[in-house]
Amino acid sequence: MFFNSIEYFLFLPAIYLIFYFTPDRFRWIVLLSGSIFFYASLMQPYLLLVLFGVMLITYMFGKLIATRSEEKEKKRLFWIGAGINLAILVGMKYLPFITENLDLLLKAIFGKAVIPVSPLIVSIGVSFYVFQAISYLSDVYLEIQEPERHFGYFALYISFFPKILQGPIERANTLLPQLKKPYEFNYDNMRSGLLLFTWGLFKKVVIADRLAVIVNTVYGNVNAFTGLSLIIATYAYAIQIYMDFSGYTDMALGTARLFNINLTDNFNRPYLATSVAEFWRRWHISFSSWLQDYLFKPLQMRMRNWKSWGSVIALLITFFISGLWHGAAWTFAIWGLLHGLYMAVAVLYKPLQKKLYKKLKLNGTKILKLWKIFMTFNLVSFAWIFFRAESLRDSMLILKKLFPLDPGKVDIVNLYELGRFETLILLISLLVFIVCIKSLNKLLKSGTYWRFGIRYSFYLLLLIYILLLGNFGYSDYIYMGF
């Protein structure tokens, strides 16, 4: 059951109504059973077992860590708890990758297959809630979070259905207290929650899924396209992945808001960032702040005597792991390393850059800002090539066609598998997005931003637009695979 499915459009009102008519002290039971039902609808029974395992182990270790007074003992328990969580993640996601590479290596040495290669298994959600579990254990160990005593609330904190499939990755101190608050119907939350959900749906089913057709056509058969088509498809992918994932996040946040729960916003206009480091403060924020707090900072502090070089190594390790978190493939590893490299170069180049801008009197000018935004967007888009390419070989082929640029005209006929009419709708919808985004943000904040008549006409038009032009046959979310 995904957010853009008929099942979900039935499930959400149903669970809301049950929730509404249940007394406060039992409401967690409604949300928890709803969440488990939601996850179970993926029809992968072992996933429920994994979820339950993560809940139970993390809950127990959280309590255990807090009972110990000796630092050494606390640390040991933290590492065991986090280690079991990591082992579950590795087992679910990386076993096929590890055994496949090991198999290749051993075949090269011994000339025959020595170990069996593990089959691929569906692991939707696991990387998200395992990371959340590790953040919980860290916070309990660092004594910035009291361990949760109530297993029901804790289980809900891990599995709350709006965020179980693709995050946001929530910290205990922001989500747990909200789950325990008594519920009172709030008209404004209901209104802005539904609006946010609808807006996310628009991004996903009207824009992202149309862009997907272009991107899939080109990236599905890299050989057949020239450099220019590849450039167009790559930019299209940059927009697609933003619309897809931020659309999902809007729907998650919108859903949670109906229950008066505010989840972390994952996006803050990422493509307007003026540096790659800033991009990461604006893109998938709950994930990048996780990396910063639980991976980058500890590494950086450990290597602090090496000054800038310590930060450089910490960046490279952090982003290499970030790459692998997205998927067990070398293409993701390269994508992550590229981002690490971008930022590492920026760290080392910063003193020189400062002098340069001063000399050229560029500081604070608009032109410098635009240049930086342009460069950042292109660096990020270049990295997306590896993220999207279906294999390492494909990504190398693309690079060959781009440097030097393989001329040849854009293969319009093939590229727009979408058809002329659909392409027109896509362009109009992108325009609608750009024109509406500012008013929409204001409308989300204040229910009286527009006059009643205009407001409701807008809601209605948006809904009709989606119903007419939305692509509901598609149920793929990019981040669902991670």
Binding site: E71, L142, E143, I144, Q292, D293, F296, K297, P298, Q300, M301, R302, R304, N305, K307, S308, G310, S311, V347
Partner: protein, 80 residues
């Protein structure tokens, strides 16, 4: 000079800004240029000037200047 004044001096040196006036509730958001990269330089400068070493756990739990200051004081106290 009190420990807090010495700490303020170190901040001014590291961030190259003589106008910095620390308060216990000052956070990274209040000081220009205090990001995760300059934070390392700051910690190193504090450790060198006061001849102390922070533990990994301490470094990960400082929320503001007050936390940092308390930890320095505690270390200087225990050395007397």
């Amino acid at each position: 000079m009190t420990t807090f004044e010495r700490l303020n001096e170190i901040f001014r040196e590291v961030f190259d800004d003589d106008t910095i006036e620390l308060k216990p509730e000052t956070t990274a958001n209040d000081v220009d240029g205090w990001d995760s990269l300059s934070h390392v330089n700051l910690i190193l400068a504090i450790e060198t000037k006061f001849a102390i070493t922070f533990s990994q756990k301490e470094l990960l739990t400082f929320r503001n200047v007050g936390d940092l200051y308390k930890s320095i004081e505690k270390k200087l106290e225990s050395r007397k």
